[in-house]
């Protein structure tokens, strides 16, 4: 369903998702089904926070709905009993993997590397002024603004 939903979610949410606490030993939310009406919506504050962290915008209601669905989908994980199970970072965890020696064996390719940059001065990449945070929600050009 791709219809834009500008309904209830726009209103301030009932709060942030519950903090984990003993989350990693939690068997799931009791008898709650992920799609049930008790499913909390993501608050505008969190959405705004995500836009800041990711430096990517939601663009429209569809974007937010996409996130909601993604979270709902991910909630199925809580049905699995992971008591006593260690997290797995890599399938190669039982092997010794090596970093190579910290010797400079190649380089001197400044010219090639700079070629792909749009703005540069001599051997510098040029960036706009830093240390200026993204404008607040009210001042920013974002879809979320309509929800304040």
């Amino acid at each position: 369903m791709r219809a834009l939903l500008l309904g209830p979610w726009l209103r301030a949410a009932r709060g942030l998702p519950r903090a984990p606490g003993s989350g990693h030993r939690h068997r799931g939310h009791g008898g709650h089904r992920p799609q049930g009406p008790l499913r909390q919506k993501v608050s505008v504050e969190v959405l705004d926070h995500l836009e800041h962290l990711a430096l990517v915008d939601f663009r429209d209601a569809e974007g937010v709905e996409r996130l909601q669905k993604a979270i709902q989908f991910a909630d199925q994980l809580h049905e699995v009993n992971t008591n006593g199970v260690e997290p797995m970072d890599s399938v190669l965890e039982d092997r010794c993997l090596y970093l190579r020696e910290d010797d400079v064996t190649e380089g001197n390719c400044t010219k090639e590397l700079l070629e792909n940059a749009r703005e540069k001065v001599e051997e510098y990449f040029v960036a706009p002024p830093g240390n200026i945070p993204l404008p607040k929600l009210e001042e920013r050009e974002t879809f979320l603004q309509g929800s304040q």
Binding site: P17, A19, V46, L50, L67, A74, I132
Partner: protein
């Protein structure tokens, strides 16, 4: 890029009567390619290596020096790689000819090869005699072009290139099934090697803990040849294992009585077409009749692999996509107010919905308040999934036999009815777990569906046991004798009446 002489000679050689439909002409092409190359490109007359003169296509998420690498995204349009990915370099060192970069879903996110900025990839089988004979036009005036089918994804371009005889082999990538899925839909062999066997240096990463370069060829022997050229430790990729890799030639297995084939019951997933179920059954019987031990096994956490993948993938994507800010390479917005706003605008302009969606989801799962609940939880579930496989292989099973896809290729117009995430969740269900566990897996084209489209079956092997996996796959390939595609010329201007139809059939 390939001199006309070589290409023409290669194609002519490929049309010579082959050993029969099963062999798919791999060896003849190789020989012709080598000879042509030696004749016109190498003055010294010395072949550079085993792939000398062989045209190979490379998925556009591998860096290729001096050649644009876009990942089918606006973010990298115009980006000229300053270096070759290790696998590309290895191919070139063996004398392979890089024919071109192939289309994909943007940043390899998707299961249809429909979401790249260059547009969707059309499955060559859409234009095959086999498909056309089975498709019933709704009316005389219907544009016959409109019922073309997708290639699957995300390495759709690579699969289509191999399937349409445009090249001898192609590189894809496989994170959740991105090589095996299009291989199944395009009727080609798609190999996902063990994680850690082939270098990822130069492959623009999606999920560092699951990505592998994939190999697409027309027969299993060719896949073994490519594997031989690509596998092995790379000091530039510390996730490649140190063990010595010895290229091998596949034996012609005749006695399968010592083999134990596992049939995981959970792979009878909801939505599996009855056709594929029947084919899977037939394949199991084939092994049984030939004397192999065929047992039903259980991988109980299979149904969570998609959810687990969803969390881990989006989390790693959120991290990997952070490098695209317009400063050093790629698209850069004109916004000049501040660094942050420039980054935000660049990313807003450069990424499509799918990519942005995954970045935002990933960041959500990585938030402090969600980290344990989602990300770490998913990592634990990953271990359970990997352990399922360990238990099964420990019980004496050598190879697992499963379907690769739930059905044959869907028409494009039907496929785009659902969004990318939904489709990926549906389509990756049979291929994803092998990435979770890092195991090698291969799609072998098996038969044509009722609609005249390819259907493949998947073999999953033990870690780093590619030789065994490919040996069994080759035996199976020989038994099923998958038919060659019979391509017909598409008359764009005259869709109603096919007057000057030229059959470029290669049989």
């Amino acid at each position: 890029m390939v001199p006309r002489g070589v290409a023409a000679r290669w194609r002519r050689a490929a049309t010579a009567p082959g050993k029969g439909q099963g062999s798919l002409g791999g060896r003849e092409e190789a020989a012709a390619g080598r000879e042509s190359h030696a004749a016109c490109l190498s003055p010294a007359g010395q072949p550079l290596g085993i792939l000398d003169g062989i045209p190979i296509a490379v998925k556009d998420n591998f860096n290729t020096a001096g050649i644009e690498t876009t990942c089918a995204s606006n973010m990298l349009k115009g980006y000229i790689s300053p270096y070759n990915a290790t696998v590309v370099q290895k191919l070139l060192d063996q004398g392979a000819v890089l024919l071109g970069k192939t289309n994909l879903d943007e940043f390899a996110m998707g299961s249809g090869s429909t979401d790249g900025v260059f547009g969707p990839v059309r499955n060559p089988w859409s234009y095959s005699k086999q498909y056309k004979e089975k498709s019933v036009p709704k009316s005389h005036s219907e544009d016959k072009e409109s019922n073309w089918v997708i290639t699957g994804g995300s390495s759709g371009g690579s699969a289509a290139a191999v399937s349409s005889f445009t090249c001898f082999a192609a590189l894809g990538s496989d994170t959740g099934g991105s090589t095996r899925n299009p291989a199944a839909h395009c009727g080609v062999v798609g190999l996902k090697p063990t994680y850690g066997l082939i270098s990822r240096h130069g492959l623009i990463p999606l999920v560092n803990s699951m990505d592998v370069p994939g190999i697409l060829t027309r027969c299993v022997d060719d896949a073994a040849v490519l594997l031989g050229s690509l596998a092995g430790h790379d000091p530039k990729d510390s996730t490649t294992i140190q063990d010595d890799f010895k290229p091998f030639e596949l034996p012609n297995l005749t006695d399968v009585s010592k083999l134990s084939i596992g049939i995981p019951k959970e792979y009878h997933a909801p939505g599996l077409s009855s056709e594929i179920l029947a084919l899977w059954s037939k394949a199991a019987d084939l092994f049984r009749k030939a004397g192999a031990k065929v047992v039903e096994v259980s991988l109980p956490h299979t149904r969570y692999s998609i959810v687990c993948y969803h969390v881990l993938c989006t989390a790693e994507v959120a991290s990997n996509m952070a490098r695209f800010d317009g400063l050093e390479y790629g698209h850069r917005s004109d916004m000049k107010d501040s660094t942050e706003s420039m980054y935000a605008a660049t990313r807003r302009e450069g990424f499509n919905d799918v990519v942005r969606g995954r970045i935002l989801s990933g960041n959500y799962f990585l938030l402090k308040q969600n980290y344990e609940k989602y990300f770490v939880k998913a990592q634990k579930v990953r271990r359970l999934i990997a352990n399922d496989f360990v238990k099964v292989f420990r019980s004496g099973v050598d190879i697992l036999l499963t379907p690769t896809t739930l059905s044959d290729a869907a028409p494009y117009t039907e496929f785009i009815q659902e969004d990318n995430r939904t489709r990926s969740a549906q389509d990756d269900i049979l291929t994803q777990a092998a990435n979770m566990a890092g195991l090698p897996a291969i799609n072998v084209p098996t038969a044509l569906s009722e609609r005249g489209l390819p259907v493949g079956l998947q073999f999953i092997g033990r870690s780093f046991q590619e030789k065994q996996l490919l040996t069994v796959a080759k035996w199976f390939e020989k038994q099923v004798q998958f038919p060659m595609i019979q391509l017909e010329e598409v008359k764009k201007h005259d869709s109603d009446v096919f007057h000057h139809q030229k059959s470029a059939s290669l049989s």
